[in-house]
């Protein structure tokens, strides 16, 4: 993994619009994440943060706009305002390059921890099972769960499950990680272990786009913080500026309500 490389855009979002029925949840998002950057997106619920993340790997299909992953136009091609979807295989191939971790973990309950981790490397990347297992063991050690490879997800605490989910995403050797409120479903005492795993990952130079409500984490780990509200990026800046001297009134109001608890 490389360190920060501002010259290489890993994720580019351009003019993204998304509607859910009548409601216009993303209203023209432009965003570039460079290789090695750790970017946190903060903002009130309903501001479109999670939808943006899900659009980046095409779990939601935006009405307008383009996504580029590592310089390549992803998922579809626009011609004269008409979008032509790429083949299912091409869409899956781009997703395979992005690791995603969800609020609700979404581990596969019928597979063991190791089964969860090697499933996609073996069946999508066609890695030999033994090599996938070896890498799986390294990743489990990295997230502090070396002794859990034979456990089933339901035998684990929420924090452990989420660390397995992180390892599962890393097993695909992704170019970037998308983390969608990964600590929001956890009991408070389990949040720290997951944040620690994410901190390690950031320290290794992984490109990360993180939607979070953990303001201290965002302040300490991010290279950049984005504040979203009502479907637009209101402000983006260094964590020091966002948390110390935000320019926008909406950012100040939001930070006041979340930090004054």
């Amino acid at each position: 993994m490389s360190a920060l490389r501002p010259d290489r855009a890993m994720i580019e979002v351009e003019g993204l619009h998304k509607y859910f029925g009548e409601s216009h949840v993303l209203r023209g998002i432009d965003l570039t994440i460079a290789a090695g950057e750790v970017v946190c997106i903060i903002g009130p619920s309903g501001s479109g943060k999670s939808t943006l993340l899900r659009c980046i790997n095409h779990l939601e299909i935006p009405e307008k706009g383009n996504i580029r992953i590592d310089g390549q136009l992803a998922f579809r091609t626009e011609k004269n305002g008409i979008f032509r979807s790429h083949s299912n295989r091409a869409i899956s191939a781009v997703r395979a390059e992005l690791g995603m971790v969800f609020q609700q973990f979404n581990l596969f309950p019928h597979l063991t921890v190791m089964g969860n981790i090697i499933e996609a490397p073996v069946h999508v990347l066609r890695k030999p099972r033994e090599i996938a297992r070896k890498r799986g063991r390294e990743l489990l050690a990295q997230v502090g769960l070396a002794d859990k490879e034979d456990a089933y997800p339901e035998e684990l605490s929420g924090g452990q499950q989420q660390r397995v989910a992180i390892a599962r995403a890393l097993a695909m050797e992704p170019k970037a990680m998308l983390l969608d409120e990964v600590t929001s479903a956890l009991d408070p005492e389990l949040v720290a272990e997951v944040l620690a795993a994410m901190r390690d990952l950031a320290a290794q130079g992984m490109t990360m786009l993180i939607v979070t409500h953990e303001m201290n984490f965002a302040r300490q780990v991010s290279s950049r913080v984005i504040f979203m509200d009502r479907g637009v990026i209101v402000e983006e800046d260094s964590p020091a500026r966002i948390f110390g001297a935000p320019r926008e009134r909406r950012t100040r109001d939001f930070l006041r309500t979340v930090l004054d608890r």
Partner: protein, 224 residues
């Protein structure tokens, strides 16, 4: 004359048991075929390809809207009029399989649709195509969930095969009919048949009840 004649029962036990064996054979053949066909039907019904969905829906509704007895008669007595002549066992297998596949496909569909969105999302995010996700992630969970329901259909089928007596398959009921036509020992013969059915379905029902408890349990292996 007593109602239940033990001597008659014993003397006819052999042929009736042979009939029961054919009943069981019919049940197993039809169930095996239906489990596979129903899965294809269920997947067709969930397809993104509209004509296939429509075809599957029509088939399921046609089967569910008509009696099984009629379907049996249709395959055996009506198809020959258009030149399709089947022996009675084949006709029985086809009619029962078409019938049970329609019902069981709905069971599968329910199981597949009960899998939460997050499982699809996780599989997709890992780069799995819809087909791979279905095979590796969704179906294994869905099938486990519907095993008790399938067990109940299995038992239901075992009893429904009695209808095949109308297409003269020599299963246990038809065997009893033939024997009774000769010796008029209806009470004895049909009581033996009833006991035979019960002797198979009751333990099978207990087994399904056990499976039900098993499928409600989590994926945790039992630790001794």
């Amino acid at each position: 004359m007593e109602l239940f004649n033990l001597e008659i029962a014993l003397r006819n036990f052999g042929p009736l048991l042979a009939g029961l064996m054919l009943t069981i054979e019919l049940t197993i053949v039809v169930m095996a075929l239906s489990l596979v066909l129903a899965l294809l039907v269920a997947l067709g019904g969930l397809s993104r390809f509209f004509p296939l969905r429509w075809l599957v829906k029509s088939y399921v509704e046609a089967i569910r809207g008509t009696p099984l007895l009629l379907q049996l008669i249709y395959v055996y007595y009506v198809l020959p009029e258009v030149g399709i002549r089947l022996d009675s066992f084949t006709a029985g297998v086809i009619a029962l399989t078409l019938n049970y596949s329609a019902y069981i496909s709905e069971v599968y569909r329910g199981g597949i649709q009960a899998i939460v969105r997050g499982q699809h999302d996780a599989a997709a995010a890992l780069g799995m195509t819809r087909m791979l996700a279905m095979r590796r992630i969704i179906l294994p969970q869905a099938i486990r969930m519907v095993i008790p329901a399938l067990g109940n259909y299995f038992i239901g089928l075992f009893k429904d095969t009695a209808l095949c007596s109308v297409v003269s398959i020599q299963e246990v009921v038809f065997t009893a009919q033939i024997l009774a036509a000769r010796n008029f020992q209806y009470f004895t013969l049909y009581t033996v048949v009833g006991v035979m059915y019960f002797a198979v379905s009751f333990p099978a029902a207990r087994l399904v009840a056990y499976l039900e408890r098993f499928s409600k349990r989590g994926y945790r292996r039992r630790r001794s």
